[in-house]
């Protein structure tokens, strides 16, 4: 593998990691503040992608689509929080899993009913299409590079929101002791709805960003959801910092593994066997990573209690 290819794949891994972070941040925030495991987070990602594709197709503007993805997912998030999720905060995890699994079925079939089973396609806006030459002479797609930049900005924005603003103080207080902040006169119900809608908006935004790279279809959120679970297990549940570190780690390990394992096995096997073994093993790599983290740090890389 040449240095240029390695660097390109590293950037791809970073881009993948950044989109995973947008998903994982919402999941881990919702878990940290409300103690809720939300399987329907992947559905919100899908809602965002479909909203973006539909609005972009109707208006011809990707940017309006992007705004629509955040608005639609945040709205859908607030809606399910107020109708269903709210009733689950005091239930055990089994009930939360089942109810949010039911929401997945409802969202997926609802989406299939409205948009049909065929994938929609979302074009990258003209200004971001094509490659850019990086310092060192390496050409790289502008769109992917912008995802990395935007993801970095979102991470920074989340940090500022949680560390510096009044809402952030309330969110942190809600994580620490929900009875106490309710007793201090903070409207905890509204706070929960806002946190849930914030996480949903991020998921929808991620869906729209990835939708332009891949296709927009029913069920697109589920593989990403499970990867986001892996991310927050590795990072430590409830920790945004852990989610950021772990999502970039997972993104890079997965991308580099897929590229390098087949050629690594090719060194001592015939090419077709190396290809099949390499690709099957590389699809397991991040789960192995998760298992290793679990063995040595069962609480995740960034422990909430530590």
């Amino acid at each position: 593998m040449t240095a240029a290819l390695f660097f390109e794949q590293l950037l791809n891994g970073l881009q993948f990691g950044v989109t995973l972070f947008l998903m994982a941040a919402g999941l881990t925030l919702v878990f940290g503040v409300m103690g809720l495991i939300n399987l329907a987070h992947g559905s919100l990602y899908m809602v965002g992608a479909f909203a973006c594709a539909a609005v972009a197709a109707a208006t011809g503007s990707f940017w309006l689509g992007l705004v629509a993805s955040i608005v639609a997912a945040a709205f859908a998030g607030a809606l399910i929080e107020m109708t269903v999720i709210r009733r689950l905060y005091n239930r055990d995890h089994l009930d939360q899993v089942l109810a949010t699994f039911a929401l997945i079925l409802i969202f997926s079939e609802g989406c299939r009913f409205i948009f049909g089973s065929f994938p929609l396609f979302l074009d990258v806006p003209a200004i971001l299409a094509g490659p850019i030459t990086l310092p060192g002479g390496l050409p790289y797609p502008i769109y992917r590079l912008s995802i990395i930049v935007v993801g970095g900005l979102v991470a920074l924005g989340l940090y500022l929101l949680i560390a510096k603003t009044r809402l952030g103080i309330r969110i942190r207080a809600g994580e620490a002791d929900r009875e106490m902040i309710a007793a201090l006169g903070v409207d905890i119900r509204t706070l929960y709805t806002i946190v849930f809608a914030l996480g949903a908006g991020l998921a929808g935004f991620a869906g729209a960003l990835v939708g332009a790279l891949q296709s927009v279809q029913v069920g697109m959120g589920e593989p990403v959801l499970i990867l986001a679970f892996v991310v927050i297990v590795i990072g430590g549940i409830g920790s945004i910092k852990g989610a950021l570190i772990a999502s970039i780690l997972v993104g890079i390990v997965d991308t580099l593994g897929r590229v390098s394992l087949p050629s690594l096995f090719g060194l001592f096997m015939d090419p077709s066997a190396a290809n099949s073994i390499g690709s099957s093993l590389s699809s397991m790599l991040i789960y192995v990573l998760m298992a290793v983290v679990l063995i040595f740090k069962p609480e995740g890389l960034v422990s909430q209690n530590g």
Binding site: A99, A102, I226, V233, S279, M284, A291, L294
Partner: protein
């Protein structure tokens, strides 16, 4: 006591109903109902397996499709090698394919047991949400492995051209195969009942209720939970082998997390921790699928609504509705 006997009555009714069903189906000339009933028995058995971990042990495994699929692939791989007369491996010792169900079941149980042991060893170090996510993630790992491993069909799956054989029973006859599945379901229920009432079952239930107390009396909760998880995975794996034989087809979809969700749904619909809960749940699930699936391709939308209703408003499942609350809840 009255509520308990009502549950027992319901169990007896379900057993007699399942026994009579193939004869009724033949009498009214609807042989397809036997296939539906076979699906009920097999999914019920998978649910009985999950129920041991979930209901008795409180281990919310969202990765039981892994064991279901491992059992299925064990059946599919053995049968395909037997069909092609090619050994599975020659060195260091010879392993050949087979089409004998008894051997296939044994292999399926062993393979899914090993899988459950390895997954349990790692995931039982954690609890709560971590446990749910990790079982889900490891099941997904096996799913992706099955998709990207080309030797046994990869994404396309693997066909079993002739249903495997059982001594003395014509398995190609739907009734014969149904009674095999039904007998195994009953054996699974019997095993669950025996385990639940044994010293092991008492330890498992206290591991669910209060781990500290269990440790205080000198029993390691981890070992108890791991044992329960392995037995649970084995039962679900056996169901997977039967499912492969029923469809004469194995594919990665048996390993997908929708399958885990499906098995969990039918345990919940029937009633968590109830002996006959998975069977009752499977009956409802299959009838629901049959009726609504025939009316609209979007039947899962309605399944979602029903599931949501059951979780939010009817937590004891159907058996809870009919027979009242369980004694020890």
């Amino acid at each position: 006591m009255a509520s308990l006997s009502r549950e027992t009555l319901l169990n007896i009714f379900l057993t007699i109903g399942m026994l009579a069903l193939p004869f009724v189906a033949t009498a009214i000339d609807e042989p397809f109902y036997i296939t539906l009933a076979t699906r009920v028995a097999i999914l019920g058995l998978a649910g009985v397996g999950l129920n041991l971990a979930l209901g008795t042990g409180g281990l919310v495994s969202f990765g039981h499709a892994a064991f279901f699929g491992l059992g299925g692939y064990a059946a599919g791989i053995l049968a395909s090698h037997a069909l092609n007369y090619t050994p599975i491996m020659e060195s260091p010792f010879l392993i050949e394919g087979t089409n004998q169900m008894l051997i296939i079941w044994l292999v399926a149980i062993i393979v899914s047991g090993i899988g459950a042991y390895l997954i349990g060893l790692l995931s039982l170090r954690t609890s709560g949400v971590y446990f749910i996510m990790i079982t889900l993630a490891f099941a997904q790992m096996i799913y992706y492995f099955a998709i990207s491993w080309p030797a046994y069909g990869g994404e396309d799956g693997l066909s079993i051209y002739v249903r495997n054989a059982f001594p003395g029973v014509n398995t190609l006859d739907p009734q014969g195969f149904y009674f095999i599945c039904f007998a195994l379901l009953m054996a699974g229920i019997w095993l669950s009942a025996t385990l639940k009432n044994s010293r092991f079952g008492a330890a498992l239930q206290s591991a669910r209720q209060n781990e500290e107390r269990l440790s205080a009396v000198g029993v390691k909760p981890f070992n108890i939970k791991l044992t329960a998880f392995v037995i649970s995975g084995m039962m679900t794996g056996l169901a997977g082998a039967l499912f492969a034989d029923l469809n004469r087809f194995v594919s990665p979809s048996m390993l997908s997390w929708h399958m885990s969700g499906e098995i969990m749904i039918l345990v919940i619909l029937g009633g968590v921790g109830r002996l006959y809960g998975p069977l009752a749940g499977a009956i409802i699930y299959i009838i629901f699928e049959f009726i609504f699936g025939g009316m609209t391709e979007h039947w899962q939308f309605f399944l979602g609504l029903v599931l949501l209703g059951v979780v939010l408003f009817a937590r004891g499942g159907v058996i809870g509705l009919i027979a009242g609350r369980a004694r020890h809840d």
